[in-house]
Structure formats: C-alpha cells, structure tokens
Amino acid sequence: MRRTIILFFIALALVAVIALFAFFLSPQNGGESGAGAGGGNIFGNLFPFGDESAGTTLPPGGEAESADTRPVPALRRVTEKPASGGYVYQNGVGETMIRYIERETGHLFQTPAEGRGVVRISNTTIPGIQEVLFAHENGFIIRYLNEDGGIENFYASLKAGAEDQTIGGKFLDSWERGNIDAIGKNLLTVAETPSGSSVIVSGVDGTNKRTVLVSPIRSWVPLQSDTNMYVYSAPAAGVSGSLYQISNNALRKVAGDIAGMVALVSPSGRYVLASGGESDVSLFLFDTQNGQRYESPVATLAVKCVFVKEAPVKVACGVPNTFPAGEYPNDWLLGRVQFDDDLWLIEPTNGVATLVALPFEDTGYHLDVWQPVADKTGSYVGFIDKNNLSFWSLRLEKPAAKSGTESE
C-alpha cells in the first residue's frame, strides 16, 4: 500500500513538472527565447501587468472579426480602445496594412487597410505608452513615464512575419523629444542638459550616436527629411518661431518668422509646412527650392497634417471646423481645447483644398486628428483621434496591386 502511495505521488510530481514545462515554453508566456532583436521579455519583470492574462483581448495569433466581410469604408475607426500610435505600410505583396499599439496593454496589433481581421503581433504588456515613433512595421520606439515621472525610451524590435511574439529591444538614452525620418533610418533627438540641449542623431536603435548640435536652448523640436536634420523653436502663441537646418554644428534658417509656429518637413526636404499667425491660425507651404511661400485655402495646425505626395505636393490634414477661443497652438498641445475636424487633401502650390471626409456625418464621431501618418504610396493616412485616443484610417485612393508571391 505504502509503495502504491509513493508511486502515485511520483506520478503526480511528473505530471506537474511536465505541465510547468509546457506552460513556460509556450510563446504567449514569454517562453520564446530570443524573440526580436534583443530577445527576452524585458517588460515582463518590470510591470505588474506583465502577466499575459492581464490584457489579452484576442486568442494568441488569432483573428477577430474575420467573418465580417462588409466593405471597409474610406474613413474607418480601426480601434475601439485607445491607441498609443500607429503605422501604415505595404507588405511584401503590396497589401496595405495597419499596425497600432493598444494603449492599455502595449500590445501591437495588425489589420489590413481593406479588411477587418485583427491579428495580435506582440504580447508583451506595457500599459500606458504615451508615444510611439515607428521606424518600420517591426521596429519602433515606445515612450512612457517611469515611476519617477521621467520619460523612458525603448527601442522595440519584432521578428518579421511572426505573430503573438515577445517584444525584444533595448532601452535608449534619455531624451525629451525625438523624430524618425521617413525612411526609418535615423533618429534625431533633443536631450535637455543643465546648460541647454544636445541634439543627437543615431540609428533608430540608438547605435552610431553623433552629436550634431549643442545649444543653450533646450526646447528645440527635432524634424528630419530623408537626408537633412532640422530643429524648430518650440511654439508659443504670439511668439515668432522659425525652422533651422542643422549643418556643421550650426543652424541655417529655412523658414519661419511665424507666430506660434509648428512645422513639418517633407521627406525630400524641399517643402516645409508651417502654421501660425498673430491672431488667426494660417497654414503655409514653403518651397525651399525657389523660396516661394503658399498659403493654404484652409487653416489648421501643421502638426495635424502629413505629407502624402511631393509631385505635386499634397498634404492630408485634419482641419478644425472652428478654432475655439484659445492660445494656439499651446492650448491644443496641452489638451485644453479639442477640435471637431473635417479631413482635407490640400495642394498648397495650386491653392486647392479638397474635402475628403466629414467625420461626424460619415461616422457619428467628432474627430480631432493627432499624430497623422501616411503610407509611402500616399494612399492611406492613419491618425489618433485626440478626443478618445482611438486609431483611425483614411483611404485617399486604392494603390495599384503589386504582383508577386512574396509574403509578409
């Protein structure tokens, strides 16, 4: 009898050991070692919500709403929940995909621009990501506040083509503001120092750092074209601002002298979109090749726009129906005012603005366009609605299908 009991407990222990192995080696529990460039689940030990069970919304690797075959509207609410940022791109077969990070879990999801299925790409739980800077679909910088209130910058990398994987990567140096160029190659950051700031360029993963400007001003806002680096003076209502190109540790003025200026630089660097004004907000396009300045027929803040094409130059913008009383752009940047935007495609050089979508009429939502991004073909725009942090996509035109069999 005693021997039987001992054998029973040994068998029980073996079953328990096997069960534990099965649990810890399963991918969704961080057991997939070496996932991503950095390998390992860094955040699993840092956050109380690192447990996979905390934020799961989908079956691992599974698709949601895949049975929904309704056509996707041009203006689409991609997420019901708040998002931290998103990215629109064409995969290997030319299909336009949207990737976004859910803000309460930090999980990366993917959905086709013209489909409704949603796939979870990463399962590492990082709640409360404030900002995401995408280099490409598998590499991005997540920014969040640590317990001391400081900003953490983490370069996250994923394996291409895999689903439900653990985020790899590494923590980057401390910096306050950053910008990744349109080709996803370089990261330009402004790090505040006791005597001002250091503007540093590096690879998006923080490698190959090089200080390009040391300045007594700490509030510079960095921008990049594909080949050049810029900073503009931090915006303040009623205070003149300008954009400067960084060259040989010096600043060369590109455009500006606009009160309350915020700016964007086109990928080629030829065009600068800037907004501001003493009393009312206006939107301007500067052609740095010929020195021409064009005023847009509709007015908005330049940071509510994204370049979608350069020949001829086109920008897609959220344009407020009205500007509530306030000091711009600061009140909007501080979240003190919200806008009710329509979506416009603007060709400033031709003085043409085309109304693309009326969000409230089309969807029943009042949208405040924030952090807009465009795919490289200029066919789709993604953005966060600042009113509720949901992620949206807007189809401007359907891109031509790419032939080939390469899969993502």
Binding site: G149, R218, K253, L334, G335
Partner: protein
Amino acid sequence: MPFRALALIAFLFFAPIGGDVSAAAIPFLLEPELQIEVVPATPAPGERVFVRAQSVRAPTTGATFVWRVNGTVAEQGIGRDSVTITAGEAGTTMNVSVSMSENGVSRGEKSVVIQPASIDLVWEGNTYRPPFYIGRPLMGGDGSVTITAVPTVVRGGARISAGDLVYSWFVNGSAAPKKRGYGVNTITMNAPLFKNEFVVSVTAETIDGILAASNQTRISPVSPESVVYENAPLLGIRFDRAIQGADTFEGEEKTYVAFPLTVGNADNLSYGWKVNGNRVAETGANAREVTLRRSGEGAGAFPIEFSFENAAALFERATTGFLLTF
C-alpha cells in the same frame, strides 16, 4: 538758384583779395557733400531698404538725382532724393550710387555698399514643462530667460560662424550694452521689471565692422498656472485632454495629476489639493497627484482645487479647479 547763388556768395566770401582763383576751385568749395542714409542700417535678406541722399552744406531742392544699383539706373528725376530697394540674399553685395546735378552740372556723387545679413533671436524661459509637451517654456515675472542669437552673415560665399562675431546686447533700448563681446551669442537675464514686457536687441558684427546684422525681440513674462490631467490606471496620464471646468466620476476611484507651468523648478513648490473646500492629506510620494474614491450612494458635485506655491518666489503660485460630478 540755390547752388549758383550759394557759390557766388561763398566765392565772394572766401576768395582772397587780389588772388588768382581758378574757376575749378568753386565747385570744390561748394560741393554739396552728399551723404547717403540707409534704413535699416543693417538690412536683412529680402528686406525693403530705404536709401536717401542728403547734403550737409546745401539744400538739394531742384536738383536732379540719378540712382544706380550695381551700375544700372534704378530711379532718376528732379527732387528724387531717395530710393527704396529690396536687399538680396545674405552674402550678396549691392552697390547703390547716387549722382546729383543741377542744370546739367554735376554736383556730386556718392555710393554705398549694402551687404544683407540677418540675425534671429530664439528665447525660452528657464521654466518647467510637463513631459511630452513641445510648447515653449515661457518666462515668469521672477524667473530668467535665455536668449540666443542665430546669425546669417556671409562673406565670400561662406557663412561666418556664430562664435566669430562681436555681439552687443541691449535691453529696453539702453544706450550702453548689457553685454558685449566676441562670440557672446547667448544671454541669460532676469526680467528687468517683474511682469512688465521688455525688449532685447542685439547687433552682431564682424571684427572689422564691415558686416553687421541686428534684431530685437519682445518678451512678456506670464503668470504661472497649472494644468490637471486624469491619470488612468492602464492608459497613464491623459496629456491629450486637460481637466477643465467639470469632470465626471466614473468607476470607483479616479486619480488626477497636476503640472505647474512657468515655474523655475517644480521640485521647489509646495502642492495642495482641496475637495469641497477641505484640504486633502498627502498620501503618496507625489503631492501633485490625488486619488478620489467613491463612498456611499447617490449623486453630487464637488469642487476640486489644486494649488501650488513657492514661498521663496514672488509670483510662483497658482490655483486651478474644476467641478467633479458623481
């Protein structure tokens, strides 16, 4: 009339008695001595420049002026003693000359070289900003401001480094510079008179003084204020939406976090929260944060107030509030 009459008077007055004076000496004595005034004296690229000819010895009324820009006639006419031109790009040279004549007799010629250069002034208050906020830190009435000059001065096709110019800084149009020196392209200063607006101007010139640029900026110190956000459990601080006027209580508890604006150092402040007029005891490490929990049933509205104060500073204090409805 003027030149001929004056010439005659001058001739009679100055001519030595019995002397043998040649006729050529007369125009020398009566040369109107043209001067050219350029406004602004240090034009920026693309700026409209007003150039005027003046004579210190004789009136120019009735005289004919011919203005040339880089050798090409730009303006001419009787009494046309000024011209307005547009400055070229930085580094370009524009030779502006004027000749004056009366009744076909030349009365003088003068030229000036305009070499546009510009200088931007970028400033920021040495004050605290909330994380992720890209707006400019403004200046408080008892704070300081840093101003840096970004010059565009070109010589021989090459930009002169900001550190290779001589700067003179002035405040509120003072005659004497507040600061002057080679490479002094940045100045940090306190508000001259608390919250009163002030003007800072700068001139940057090459060591030889040939090239110069100047500019000024107006700085208005502002009062400190604060901004309140919800700190949601999984979403983090909702910097996208400030709590203003009113907010609705949903769920069992809600956390708010406040940030001061336009204060020198957020760590030097004392913070306090009030609910319904009653001070909330500090419970956590972050005094800028408060967590409110629902207790009991029913509905209601409570005023929530956040304030901060720096006992060592005159203006660093502010209060903000909103109505929380259950």
